[in-house]
Subunit: 568 residues, 2 copies
């Protein structure tokens, strides 16, 4: 490509409403332009990167045996009513009526449509397994769109859906997709982690998120540096501390704690170690009764784990102040197990504590020296907290660390959730109809651009991995219009690279060198060759990789081989 025939439009400043580095850089580099909140036009430079992601995703999906389809963006309400999601999707699903007053939605995802196709097309077990995918426009009416293309409203997603005869076969399809996703993110050149994720109502352990590692990520990823263990914070198991609970040594003592409402207040007021305190939280049980949850003062309740406990109201519902006063005779801030007659669930760590400090169920009163079994009942014990860095790894192979990630893919075993709801069955070998065992597999195609930039940038701009760059090599001739030698050398290298199939652009716009270099550092071309009169006189050109601090002189007649070696 010649820059003069392409469209390069860089900006010195990002707009004031850009709220994250990748968004600022994508706008400044001319990759996207905002049309409305969470809705962006893809400019020529950005679209090239989108296409590169799409191509890698498509190639690997095809290699895995998945078959491409394209499902409508505008979907009728009927199928969503069959699955029950018309009522449960909430306002994120944008709905409207057509001119005949029929209900439609913009596709946020396509389980219903593909399940409808499967039930009419996949009649027999002989047609299975099948995995259909599409790379298509999706729309989710986010209440607060932000982070540019990472939490936009209109975006491109690759969504795949597998149909199998049995849970076992569905497991093989899941494995196939898991491995395919690893190949895709390897080829994209990103540092990522596949982390086990919660499966919600479906149950089982077959759900993984693919997270691009970046300090700015929204998600906390738990992993063990000494093993393969990785999970998201919702799922990561907090194991019980080793050993038995210490024996009680202190007497239960009521302490006046005026104005102490939080654990921080309590620690400061009593000047104690936070690890000796226990936090009391009250949620509703299935019958609307108060259930007391106990986690150590420095730990956080994990709501996903708590919600999964039998007898707890779903979705997890914090008890109202009125219910708390009725059950405890006190206001939140001074609650505890002593004297409480209801159900009580202690986190595994709390269950190993002795002589702890806890609310006394009287306003402005706490107990020190509290002990289970002596001062109150023995609690039920469960894992109900978020892990923290330094916790033992659940696989026993070291301690956990935490890093931040951006979710760019998700593989999920669905079981018969949709096929049962929509009566989507096939005739099995025994002649009986059975519901499909399904899986779904998403990749946020446009989101990957944002994630890649969050992971790979510096103060000059974007640093693309080779596989994603809009152009892999930029040739920057200094004085292209002035010097016949420079023009000849630049054109000759350009033609030679094109002949080798290299994705190269020659910057023939006639910009000053400083502006030209700044543009390509902002855009993030991985490899730059600078050709100028002075160098050519000595038979030299300059090569600079995007992460290099300075350029390296290379013999003009060796630059082609030099580049090809770098690109290999």
């Amino acid at each position: 490509m010649r820059a003069s025939q392409f469209f390069i439009s860089t900006l010195k400043e990002a707009p004031a409403d850009a709220d994250i580095t990748s968004q600022k850089l994508m706008i400044r580099a001319g990759f996207i332009r905002k049309l409305a909140a969470g809705i962006y036009s893809w400019m020529p430079m950005g679209l090239r990167v989108v296409r590169k992601v799409e191509n890698i995703v498509r190639e690997e999906m095809n290699r895995a045996g998945a078959i491409e389809v394209s499902l409508p963006v505008v979907q009728p309400a009927g199928l969503w009513q069959e699955s029950g999601r018309w009522d449960t999707m909430g306002e994120e699903m944008l709905r409207f009526k057509d001119r005949h007053e029929r209900d439609f939605a913009l596709q946020p995802t396509a389980e219903e449509v593909i399940t409808d196709i499967a039930r009419s097309e996949l009649r027999s077990y002989r047609a299975l397994p099948k995995n259909f995918y599409q790379i298509q426009t999706k729309f989710r009416d986010e209440r607060r769109p932000r982070f540019g293309v990472m939490r936009g409203r209109e975006f491109t997603m690759k969504d795949a859906y597998s149909f199998d005869r049995s849970a076992e076969a569905a497991g093989a399809s899941y494995e196939n997709m898991y491995n395919t996703y690893c190949r895709i993110f390897d080829r994209l050149g990103l540092t990522y982690r596949a982390v086990a994720a919660d499966t919600g109502a479906i149950g089982g352990d077959r759900s993984h998120e693919f997270q691009v590692i970046a300090d700015t990520g929204e998600d906390a990823i738990i992993y063990c540096p000494d093993s393969d263990y990785a999970a998201n914070i919702e799922l990561a198991e907090a194991v019980a501390p080793a050993g038995e609970r210490p024996a009680a040594t202190a007497a239960l003592t009521k302490v006046h704690t005026p104005k102490v409402k939080t654990i921080a207040d309590l620690v400061a007021f009593l000047n104690i170690d936070i690890k000796s305190t226990v936090k009391a939280l009250v949620v509703e049980g299935a019958e609307g009764e108060a259930v007391l949850l106990l986690v150590r003062g420095d730990h956080e309740l994990n709501e996903v784990k708590a919600e999964k406990i039998a007898g707890i109201k779903k979705p997890l519902t914090m008890a109202s102040p009125a219910l708390i006063r009725e059950a405890f005779g006190a206001n939140p801030g001074s609650l505890g197990p002593v004297g409480f007659k209801g159900r009580m669930i202690a986190d595994r760590t709390v269950a190993k504590m002795a002589d702890f400090v806890i609310g006394a169920n009287e306003d402005d009163q706490h107990y020190t020296g509290a002990n289970f079994g002596r001062d109150c009942a023995e609690p039920e014990v469960a894992d109900i907290r978020n892990v923290v860095a330094g916790d033992p790894s659940p696989d026993g192979k070291g301690v956990l660390a935490i890093q931040r990630g951006i979710e760019v893919g998700h593989v999920f075993y669905l079981g018969t959730k949709y096929s049962a709801a929509m009566n989507a069955t096939f005739l099995d070998e025994d002649g009986k109809p059975k519901p499909f065992e399904m899986g779904c597999y998403g990749i946020g195609v446009t989101r990957i651009l944002g994630a890649a930039i969050e992971q790979n940038h510096d103060d000059k701009g974007i640093i693309w991995p080779d596989s994603l760059a809009p152009f892999n090599v930029v040739i920057c001739p200094v004085g292209y219009d002035r010097s016949a030698e420079v023009k000849a050398a630049a054109d000759s290298l350009y033609e030679a690279l094109l002949a080798k199939g290299v994705d190269v652009i020659i910057d023939d716009r006639g910009e000053r060198p400083g502006a030209m270099f700044a543009d390509w550092e902002l855009i993030g071309a991985p490899h730059r060759v600078t050709i100028g009169d002075r160098g050519l006189k000595e038979g030299k050109v300059e090569y600079q990789q995007r992460r290099d601090a300075t350029a390296t002189p290379v013999a003009a007649d060796a630059i082609l081989e030099h580049l090809l070696a770098k690109l290999a």
Copy 2:
């Protein structure tokens, strides 16, 4: 591709609501599945054809110097209000409110969005010319979707928009796109015609439709077999008959014509040549007055031509019965120029008629022997009728013929319609802001599939041109699972064709030969090789092109070269 790893789903019967051959065949061949009225899922086989169209369009657009972008499907109302089209687009533009009650529409086209980008990105004449295109989902809420993907609601369109400094430069951009469209439709392997089309309010003569010729086409295409002349029926000029108007020979005679309401009634009742009759139509003038239009009895009023006449109300409005009774003292069915004092416009053919038969402005009464100048005023003369086959060609080079076509592309010079309305200007060389001169250029990507099938099919199914076929070559082994020789020969040819880059599928499903052949005739693979035990014993396989009535034996060791020659 191996058929066992792909998805082939043919049907014996088309659904009852399929209303045109291409739609029936696309459904039967498993290319599309209906999701809702005018909304189709693209199945794997159909999507392969869509991608082939997209690739040819993209390659030729790039070659022409156009630059690809991707504009959002969901567009905010604001820009459409700026251009004024929010009010004029009608119900075809699907509108809705997002969760924050802001107005949006699904893109039916993208002039507004791209003009908005141009006004912020193309600041100087140095940035011009530019031509941006996208291949993207469009939505038009057709009142009565029909003809499958040809008049669907959701569809894929390639839309391009050019920005130029001057009308002259815009003309060059237009020429470039016209020539590019010819290359695209040539490469698609379709028989088509570029026909001059009406430019409506923009004026000028720079608008052409690209019509795929098919008997089932919705559009009438007027062309001259002896010259290059081609226009759509809205635009094609009906020239005046040669020579002077004959002298009047008959006397004006009132005839009682009971129950005669139409020209057909009149011709039958009086037993006369329809070419001696004149049809009276009444429309509203700009002030709401009655204007009488006269066309010969066998001719049809051309509403587009009539609407362009100065002083005629726009859009063209037929006079109400009340207005007609007030102006003529009679009901429709017996109207005419004799005694009428208002404005009268005769078609050029009518203006050359003498002794004609016309309504008498009395119910159930007509005149015979009517003549202009003698029995009524001389009329204004204008071209207000549709041409008919046999009319003289406007270029004087023979007579016109009519064929049917399906519009698959349109190039249009827009002038400053959008740039002026949206204040989209660039700084010209003289330092002054000027509005862009624009053009727009559409291709109905998914519609092309329907049009190609309407043009190319037989009673067995689709006949794809090589460039569009989902697979170019199908290998049909008879007894793939039973015969090691057949399997070896088929696999070997398959591998050899893949190595040559041929888009080949091997049908390894184990279907009976009859069912297998019927599938591929329905799907429309252009080239078929059948490999069976009996032939192989004599060193033969069979080759059949889709249009061939029978298969031809070819030496097994020559089939690769044979195929490559056919594909060349």
